[in-house]
Amino acid sequence: MPALIELERAYLRLRRDTGFRRQLATWLRGYAGRPTPLYFARRLSDRLGGARIHLKREDLLHTGAHKINNTIGQALLARRLGKTRLIAETGAGQHGVATATVAALFGMRCEVFMGAEDVRRQSLNVFRMKLLGATVHVVESGSRTLKDAMNEALRDWIATVTDTFYVVGSVAGPHPYPLMVRDFQAVIGDEARRQMLATCRRLPDACIACVGGGSNAMGLFHAFRRDRGVELIGVEAAGRGLDTGAHAASLAAGQVGVLHGNKTYLLQDETGQIRNAHSISAGLDYPGVGPEHAWLRDSGRARYVTVTDDEAVDALRLLTSTEGVIPALESAHAVAHAIRLAPGMPRQRLLLVNLSGRGDKDMGTVAEYLGVSLT
């Protein structure tokens, strides 16, 4: 707790500090590649024959996903706090890579915790992290995925708080992380909102983003929270189907509980034991969801739907073949819902989809899913 209190104080001071904000903006522009384009997916929209789909291209960022927005912010904060070692949990490996990247950039030590199952699914990202100089700890406990990696990172942090900064990758975990990660990701929605107004002369009818912990979705939604005409839609992973129990849809099928220092909807049994999540995309494979999403849902401001593994892979293939853009499996969930909605809407309607990451890392998983051998 003292570490969290120290972090909260430091962060609340820095978020108003113009020097810090300017420094962050400089790194985001010169290093991460911001602003990212807003791209009108004309061929996909034509194929579906309904609403026009716009993609916020976070997949074009350095390291291949939105995660870098947050890790640059947290690493700058860590440096201000005098910490010399970064630790992180990772699911798909994107947050681990983004953390290892900023550690290399700022000359800090880095250790990443990753579930054994995810290490298997995302071996390319494991190699990237090692090449970047990080130590990757393979977590064999529990379901050997993201939640167990987070347990292990917390265990490390309890013992190392004096010199270590825990870079949490999602809008989850103890306060102030959900707030801080949202703030660092809010640049996505701030840019996208301006870009929509500049190119379409109006706001979108709906913003669509995938939700595991929910950082890219919070980043997109935040700027639109007061735009009552803009529907906010989060897409959870239904895995093999909600009725199979093999899914990661905490809002659709979870109950309120407390895990990793936050109170939110969790996949759990009737006695409060956390259930294993499942999704084809490692980054959505988490049995909880950021508490602000729970609030957005319960307050009615956002709604949450689900997309199965099958639908996500179909969406990945359709976007790839119509636009030449291979999305990450996580982002493919958001694309899948847009594909579902667009045909039923008139042409003048606008859908804004957050393409949170690119699919390079998922080629092994997709090949395996489609029964294609890569060796």
Binding site: P2, G142, N151, I158, A159, V258, Q268, G272
Partner: protein, 271 residues
Amino acid sequence: MSRIAPAFAALRARGEAALVPYFTAGDPDLDTTRELVLAAFAEGADAVEIGVPFSDPMADGPVLQRSAARALAAGTTLPRVLELVAELRRDVEHPIVLFGYYNPFFRYGVERIAADAAAAGADGFLCVDLPPEEAAPLRTAAAGVGLDVIALLAPTTPPGRVRTIARGASGFLYFVSVLGTTGARAELPPGLPDLVARARRTTDLPIGVGFGVSRPEQAAWIAGFADAVIVGSALARLIEEGGRQDGPARTSALLGTLRRAMRDAAARRTG
């Protein structure tokens, strides 16, 4: 009413520190846990912490992680842990603390767990992942039925915060000896007596020390400056190795050794 304060008062009057073992309920099964607890009291344990197993024990090291996993695999649930407490209560008058993570208690219902734990004969709760800022509902419910909520202090807890925590706590304060998860350590931090002494300046509650304790000389040392010596992982390791068959004999032997070391040290100090 909780048996914790009277038990500590009696020990203090005798100039002794309490020996408090921790057992994960249901590791390897609930019948064995009952046997382990009764054997521990026979060896001179003064109170017991009964662990409610949780799927994601993030404050625990590998030994207690495996212990919780075995207990869950054996089908242990909170209602069955309460039955165990009720059974123990028929045989013993020692304080029993329910030790666990918040979610199983929360899911069961805070009011309901307080009432049912009191009815079963428990004396208090210790929730490792419930910070004092969020503990008011459990504290209120527990106080309503005369149970304690034991708070944790860490070596990094600043003095001002120790005061805040102590104000909301009852029973005793659990001082975490090391920065880190549970699990036996070869060496405990040499500055521990000073840290405990510093905490004592802000509170009259008894202070127990846990995390990392496994050896007689460590127990004897802690008994010299704290009110309780808490031992968990070292026992779980013996249960893991000895199983149903040999677990109780081995844990009793360790507790007997710790108890004797604490008494000998106390005798040396007063003599």
